[in-house]
């Protein structure tokens, strides 16, 4: 019985989604929304208890708020009949997942997400949506087309969703205890020490802030490590007024910040991937420009032919223009 419980929860959640998606009336949808939240709350209670992202009373409340906003905005996004409102609901999903990233101490990613997604990608979507909607029906702009109002095969879609969600949730529910344990204090401090080692200027100023008598550079051990880690924190060894080989402990505030961690990983561990990402973006830009451009020229030529015009003067092939620079 215990083994199939997660699948029952997934089934309940997807039945709720089906009720929201389907053609039912207002009551059916309200029932679906209530049932969906009940199923999600049940899943939340059933989920495991390996702590993540520090402790604090506010965290669960914030997680619940952001998660509820994200899920309800996502459901509203796939059910709303007007695509522009779908896009706006997706902005809510992005903002609440940025909030979740802040809870997970990923500040850089939270702001990058808001800037790139909510700021750039969604604006592009909005532009195309406005462009398409304006042109499709200029006289009856308020009418929503049929293909936006009625979901296509909601039962089949929800079945696929159920298979997928029960796979994920079954694995999460049963597989978490068999996963490797989370990083302990020593592993965390080793990561901090490794990154701080790569930031000598910051290391020097932080050490001098704590102990002005510290004589730079600190002692270097056999592995060329300046910063050392143990279970309670990170420290450097060196000569102070108290003598040789004195440890200077660095507080959490001296350690590398989230942006420095991410930047260090990006540049030191994945430089080739970074270059590849640049190439992908460049090629996408070329592709978008070429795709959108060629068709404009086609359209103009066809338009000319349709109204019975031919190109009177081909400026590109005119020797007078290319030689003298300007010609009437």
């Amino acid at each position: 019985m215990d083994g199939i419980l997660p699948y029952i929860e997934c089934f309940a959640a997807l039945v709720a989604l089906y009720l929201i998606l389907g053609r039912g009336g207002r009551m059916t949808k309200v029932l679906g929304i209530l049932g969906g939240f009940a199923a999600l709350a049940w899943m939340y209670v059933m989920a495991g208890t390996e702590i993540i992202g520090g402790e604090g009373v506010g965290r669960e409340v914030l997680f619940l708020i952001f998660g509820a906003i994200a899920i309800s905005a996502a459901v509203r996004m796939i059910t709303h009949s007007r695509p522009v409102y779908s896009a706006i609901n997706f902005v809510f999903v992005v903002l609440s997942s940025a909030g979740l990233f802040l809870l997970l101490e990923a500040e850089f990613m939270a702001f990058a997400l808001v800037i790139v997604y909510a700021g750039a990608v969604l604006i592009t979507y909005m532009f195309v949506l406005m462009l398409a909607q304006q042109a499709s029906s200029p006289d009856k702009i308020t009418e929503v087309p049929e293909y936006d109002r009625v979901a296509r095969e909601p039962a089949a879609a929800v079945t696929v969703g159920f298979i997928f969600l029960s796979t994920i949730f079954g694995a999460v529910y049963q597989g978490i205890p068999s996963m490797p344990p989370p990083a302990g204090e020593i592993e965390r401090n080793m990561v901090r020490a490794e990154v701080l080692q790569g930031l000598p200027k910051q290391l020097k100023s932080e050490v001098e802030k704590i102990d002005p008598s510290f004589q730079w550079p600190p002692d270097i051990d056999g592995n060329k490590n300046m910063v050392h880690a143990d279970a309670t924190g990170i420290f450097v060894l060196g000569t102070t007024e108290a003598g040789k080989h004195q440890p200077v402990r660095l507080p959490e505030s001296a350690g590398p910040r989230n942006t420095q961690f991410v930047g260090w990983d990006l540049v030191a561990r994945f430089p080739a991937s970074l270059e590849l990402a640049g190439v992908i973006l460049l090629l996408a830009m070329f592709g978008a420009v070429i795709l959108a451009r060629r068709q404009i020229e086609h359209g103009e030529d066809e338009l000319r032919e349709a109204v019975g015009l031919t190109r009177i003067h081909d400026w590109d092939d005119d020797p007078a223009v290319t030689e003298e620079g300007s010609s009437a």
Binding site: L14, E60, A70, A74, V93, F108, D148, R152, A157, A284
Partner: protein, 109 residues
């Protein structure tokens, strides 16, 4: 009641994975059930978003920042995908002024 107290007392990795799985499935269902081309692409963005949450949560669990680095690459792919997909939609829209995916069935023949 012990289960309740322990679940509400601390946040687990499972909670984040669960949230990301639910968001992914909502995106999947949306992709399969909507017929508007642009909304279908928005649903793929939602699935990217869910994957990003899972990456950051697992990265936090193991204190490994490559999870966040991978989210940067997800953002890259999502931006490239949005640019190309929207260019294609504009291209299709010029031929036939509709966003209905079923009107483009003849493309598959």
């Amino acid at each position: 009641m012990i289960l309740l107290a322990s679940a509400f007392g601390q946040l687990a990795l499972a909670h984040y994975l669960l949230l990301s799985g639910v968001l992914f499935v909502i995106g999947l269902v949306g992709f399969l059930s909507r017929r508007n081309l642009i909304v279908m692409f928005l649903c793929t963005e939602l699935m990217f978003q869910a994957a990003a949450i899972a990456f950051v949560a697992v990265g936090r669990y193991y204190y490994d920042f490559s999870g966040q680095v991978f989210v940067i690459f997800i953002l890259t792919v999502a931006a490239a995908e949005a640019a190309l997909a929207l260019a294609l939609v504009v291209l299709l829209f010029r031929r036939k002024p509709t966003l209905n995916a079923e009107d483009w069935r003849d493309l598959s023949e």
